[in-house]
């Protein structure tokens, strides 16, 4: 469902992603780890269509049979791609309920489905909030406005639950969470796992991966996937750090 070949992207003329290859099938959970500044967020942003990145010629990203790099951000989302932001944005004046109803309906419309009215959507939203353990009062609060760090991350998971994407990329959704918040977020992710939904979990911490067990673990370093393995690789990284991988890569030149 996702196939990436030789993805190269630059910011302000500096190449950050330098020939990245990656593929995932429906239902798989992939963890992407790597030292600070290796290009993990850049990878997530380029996939989601954020402006400010120059995708270099020769890069190929196929998602659900389409050329992803050709599409504007909103069409990628309608095709089933979802990014949980490392730093979710506050939108004062727009309520969560209004935001999610608008998003859900634009996605439904693009798929030829009827729009949900406020009543039907309200029921649907309440159900999803209960499902991922988010306080119902959050529906009427302004999007992320004045939310704590943990509340913002949980709000991302709520959006994931409501928009039901086929590919969910979580950029450090676990960072900065205390253990209770981490458990709630992880439970949300586990509940949302399904045979037709793929996850890419960008994380620094093995801790998340003990709650959400990945099928594959990859190391991103200097803009490339330099090592891939099973869930044991995360344990090994937790134990030994990244130096041994860096040495391996840097000596191979």
């Amino acid at each position: 469902m996702l196939e990436i070949k030789d993805l190269r992207a630059a910011v302000n003329g500096v190449e950050i992603l330098r020939g990245l290859n990656f593929s995932a099938n429906a239902g798989e959970v992939h963890a992407i780890m790597g030292p600070n500044g290796s290009g993990k967020s850049t990878f997530a942003h380029v996939l989601s269509g954020k402006a400010g990145y120059e995708v270099l010629p020769g890069s190929q990203v196929r998602f659900q049979g389409r050329d992803l790099l050709e599409l504007p951000a909103e069409e990628r989302a309608r095709l089933g791609l979802f990014l949980a932001f490392q730093y979710p944005v506050e939108i004062p004046g727009v309520t969560n309920a209004n935001f999610l109803q608008t998003a859900a309906n634009e996605i439904r419309e693009s798929r030829g489905l009827d729009k949900l009215d406020a009543l039907d959507f309200g029921d649907f939203l309440r159900e999803k909030m209960a499902y991922v353990n988010v306080n119902p009062v959050m529906a009427d609060r302004f999007v992320n406005h004045g939310f704590s760090g943990g509340e913002k991350k949980r709000n991302e998971i709520l959006q994931l639950a409501v928009l039901e994407p086929s590919l969910a990329i979580l950029d450090e959704t676990d960072s900065g969470l205390d253990i209770d918040a981490l458990r709630i977020v992880s439970e949300g992710v586990n509940k949302l796992r399904s045979p037709d939904r793929t996850f890419i979990l960008v994380t620094h911490y093995q801790r998340l991966l003990s709650y959400v067990e990945p099928d594959f673990v990859h190391v991103l370093y200097k803009g490339q996937i330099v090592k891939s393995g099973g869930k044991d690789l995360a344990l090994e990284l937790e134990d030994k750090g990244y130096d041994w991988i860096k040495e391996e890569v840097d000596s191979n030149g």
Binding site: G49, P72, A73, L83, I91, P92, T102, E106, F142
Partner: protein, 439 residues
Amino acid sequence: MAEMLIAWPKALVREGRELPTSGVPGVVTQLRAAGVTQLDGMTAPHKGQEEFRHTNLTALAEPLFRTLARPATLAHESIASWLYPDAAWAQIVFVNGVYCPALSTRRSLPETVYAGGLAEGWTGSHAATLEAHLGSCLGARSTFTALNSALLQDGAFVHVPRNTVLSAPIHCLFISLPQETPVSVHPRNLFVVDEGSEVSILCTYAGLAGKNPVLTNLVEETVLGANTRLDYCKVVQENAIGCHLSTHEVRQERDSRQNAFFASLSGGLVRNQAYTRLAGEGTQCHVSGLYLCDGQRTVDNYLHIAHEQPHGESRIFFKGILEDDSRAVFLGKVHVFPGAQQTDSEQLNNNLLLSERARVNTKPQLEIYADDVKCTHGATVGPPAEESVFYLRSRGISESTARGMLTRGFAEETLEAIRCDEARGRLAGHILDKYQVKR
């Protein structure tokens, strides 16, 4: 230009001298005379004056000041959409500054409360209150306020006597009705809330369509006695060539609370100038506002809060949205007197620019002469944050919808300050209509 502006008041003042004088209380006669005297010694407002430095006064064309609007009547149908449908409200209506009892409803008011025309009020049982307070808040501000005094004739008068809590708001509706020539209207409002009372006052300034402009030059005085609460919401919706200049003077006695909102939705030139004196200890003054500018319009807000006594709290939160070639001016001045310790003041002005040609001059200022105070101020001017646009688009929302949502959200956030549901709802509807489909 300068000579032209100096010439205008004289013609009008001649008309003012022909105003009826029989039954007019001494205070009114004195104020008119003082206004005439002040005008003699005053220059017209010009850009050399701090408070008019950024204001485009050219919209105030000379013909506006040649003629006073004549009294006029209107059919109820032509104003019905501006009224609020709730029958429990007192709604007093003015056409070109003159009170129209036939269009007004006051049945629901308690007998002890007065709400109606100033000229009607100065003969009735609340005349003593009017005489005690009219002119008591107004300083010698500008040619406009002097002109208003010189031409003092009518306006809204509300008196809420001691320990009275009004549950329903009082709505004052001012209709500008264009005439065969450009005209000016000079309403004078007086709101007196006696000790221990609470009231909500909504004022709507609505312009009907017409070929010629109407200038409203309003002066409003508000006296808040000890331990009172006023919720105030003023909405300016003049027609596209209408001008609205206002000077609001509020005096707050100890432990009084004022929660005011200024919405400037339409009109060729709108200027709100609000001065509040926190004259007693422990007062609270929250003033917020929203201005929506497009075309060639100018909206100008000038806010002045004087913390004269300790333990005062003030908040000034104003937001504006600018499109096309429009222009906004925001000047905020919080003045903390020596001895006004424990003052707590915040001031913020945010502007959303939807056009590169729109211009904003914003200047939140502090002048502090006490040492134990907490005061902040700030301002922002800029286009919508691209980060926010991307966040919405990444959820499947189209770019144009995203921009519309952000614009409406920016405006709607200010409405949280309004306690009256009906007023807030009406403004929310206006925002929704105006920014539904973003160009």
